[in-house]
């Protein structure tokens, strides 16, 4: 019941947003803000033929970047949280490099890894991995000591502690960090896709802009937003599946 009600609110919000856009377009009445009706109808006609391939490229880059961050960030964060000595060694490194705007490293990354897929994926990885590491480590930190005691006295080995406590306890924090990082990752993706590629939503949007085809440009923006929205929704969904014990 509540689930359905929440779904309805999302639809209301989307309708409200489109209405606002519609009114704004009508008032301004300039080609730079086309009416959403035109954009959406254009989207339907060109999506499969023109946009889909760009969307797939963008999606693949994000998924690859996120996957790499998870594979490297989660174990590192868990070890740092569980072994204080390891944290002592790694924390200064993480803290020094965390606030550096990774996007500024783009030229270096491009020089090192070329203009192709690798540099884009590495860029996304660099931005997300730090948030994952810090979130997982803090998640492990915040587990009360008493939680471990019954398992210790049952003779649990490290693998069991890992599986029964560390992973499930830090999973909500991992998902939250991914959700927060996702928005940044998409902005960065857009930026990297304006260099050295002819595929990706970033390229598509900038290209449409250069061609002064605002309707296509807006269609691209809507698609990129939808990619972000669905990734956001996916993480939400996973959290509800895996971490529903939190809401009990």
């Amino acid at each position: 019941m509540t689930k359905i009600r929440r779904g309805i609110w999302y639809i209301y919000a989307a309708l409200f947003f489109f209405a606002l856009w519609y009114v704004l377009a009508a008032i301004v009445n300039l080609p730079i803000i086309p009416s959403p009706v035109k954009v959406v109808s254009n989207l339907f006609t060109i999506f499969l033929g023109k946009i889909a391939v760009h969307a797939v490229y963008s999606l693949w880059r994000i998924v690859a970047g996120v996957f790499l961050s998870i594979v490297i960030g989660i174990p590192l964060g868990l070890f740092m949280g569980y072994f204080p000595r390891l944290d002592g060694a790694f924390a200064p490194l993480v803290y020094l490099t965390y606030p550096i705007p990774k996007i500024a490293l783009l030229p270096i990354i491009m020089l090192l890894f070329g203009l192709g897929e690798a540099s884009k994926i590495i860029m996304i990885f660099l931005i997300i991995v730090f948030q994952v590491v810090v979130a997982v480590r803090d998640g492990v930190y915040s587990i009360p000591k008493e939680t471990y005691y019954p398992l210790y006295s049952l003779g649990a080995n490290f693998l069991a502690i890992f599986r029964e406590i560390l992973i499930p306890a830090s999973l909500p924090k991992i998902l939250t960090s991914l959700r927060v990082a996702m928005a940044t990752a998409i902005s960065v993706l857009f930026f990297t896709e304006t260099f050295g590629t002819e595929y990706g939503m970033g390229y598509f949007i900038m290209d449409a802009w250069m061609r002064v085809n605002y309707i296509e440009m807006y269609s691209g923006i809507v698609v990129l937003s939808c990619i972000g929205l669905s990734l956001f929704g996916l993480i939400d969904y996973l959290e509800r599946c895996w971490c529903h014990w939190q809401y009990k």
Partner: protein, 250 residues
């Protein structure tokens, strides 16, 4: 049989060495219950953690059936003050956790487990999460998790102190009734005199900083029917309280 010989534990806190327990000696026959009572800071929880194999840096000897404490080989059930249930596992998985860690390939007898759940009044709650249970129910799950293993030793750190008075008495009774069935050697730490007298065959009074055993009482009233409403019970509680007061004010 549980033997504690010359047990001393030191902590290093803020660069200073602090002694928590000093020269503690204790013997507990197999299948016996022992209540440890002491003021806060006397090291009673520390002692329990040593016997549980959680604290491994100590002097002296702790033997379970003649073997040094080793959680990997012995079955030790430990129930911390907050029951130590994993909030991300439902009741059934929480109870099975001990068995899962101990006998990896063996499946526990499903019927036995169901009977056990029934005895503890947990039937129908198998799919609930700890966050959905009352304190008393969580305590029952913690007891079930420990007893299902048939442990060599059960350790409880102020197990009933977070419960309201009525639930506490009920849970003490529940504990005694399953203990009778399985007669597991049990050490419990408490700061309630009545709890110590009701649940301890042996009552150990710890005192001071660092903690030392100041008295060991063999409880003649343990397990007597309806003992809680009899005058002997109150008498022993009164005596013990007096003893403790004198002891702790020294």
């Amino acid at each position: 049989m549980i033997e504690i010989k010359d047990l001393s534990v030191n902590y290093v806190a803020q660069g200073e060495r602090q002694s928590v327990l000093e020269e503690v000696n204790l013997e507990l026959a197999a299948g016996e219950t022992c209540a440890i009572i002491g003021p806060s800071g006397c090291g009673k929880s520390t002692m329990l953690k040593v016997v549980a194999g959680i604290i491994t840096e100590f002097r002296g000897e702790v033997l379970i059936d003649g073997q040094p404490v080793c959680p990997k080989q012995q079955k030790i059930g430990f129930i911390p003050q907050n029951y130590g249930l994993l909030p991300w596992k439902n009741v059934y998985d929480n109870i099975q956790l001990g068995a899962k860690l101990k006998n990896k390939n063996q499946n526990t007898d499903k019927e036995k487990l169901a009977a056990f759940l029934k005895q503890l009044g947990l039937s129908g709650l198998e799919r609930r999460y700890p966050g959905e249970l009352s304190g008393g129910q969580q305590q029952r799950v913690a007891l079930a998790r420990s007893f299902v293993l048939k442990p060599d030793l059960l350790l409880m750190d102020e197990p009933f102190s977070a419960l309201d008075a009525i639930t506490r008495e009920e849970m003490q009774q529940v504990f005694l009734s399953i203990w009778r069935k399985y007669s597991v050697s049990t050490i419990l730490v408490t700061h309630y005199v009545e709890e110590a007298v009701y649940l301890g065959q042996k009552i150990v009074v710890l005192s001071g900083t660092p903690g030392k055993v100041s008295k060991v009482i063999d409880n003649p009233h343990f397990g007597v029917e309806n003992i809680r409403s009899r005058p002997e019970f109150f008498e022993l509680c009164r005596e013990l309280r007096k003893m403790i007061k004198e002891d702790w004010s020294r």
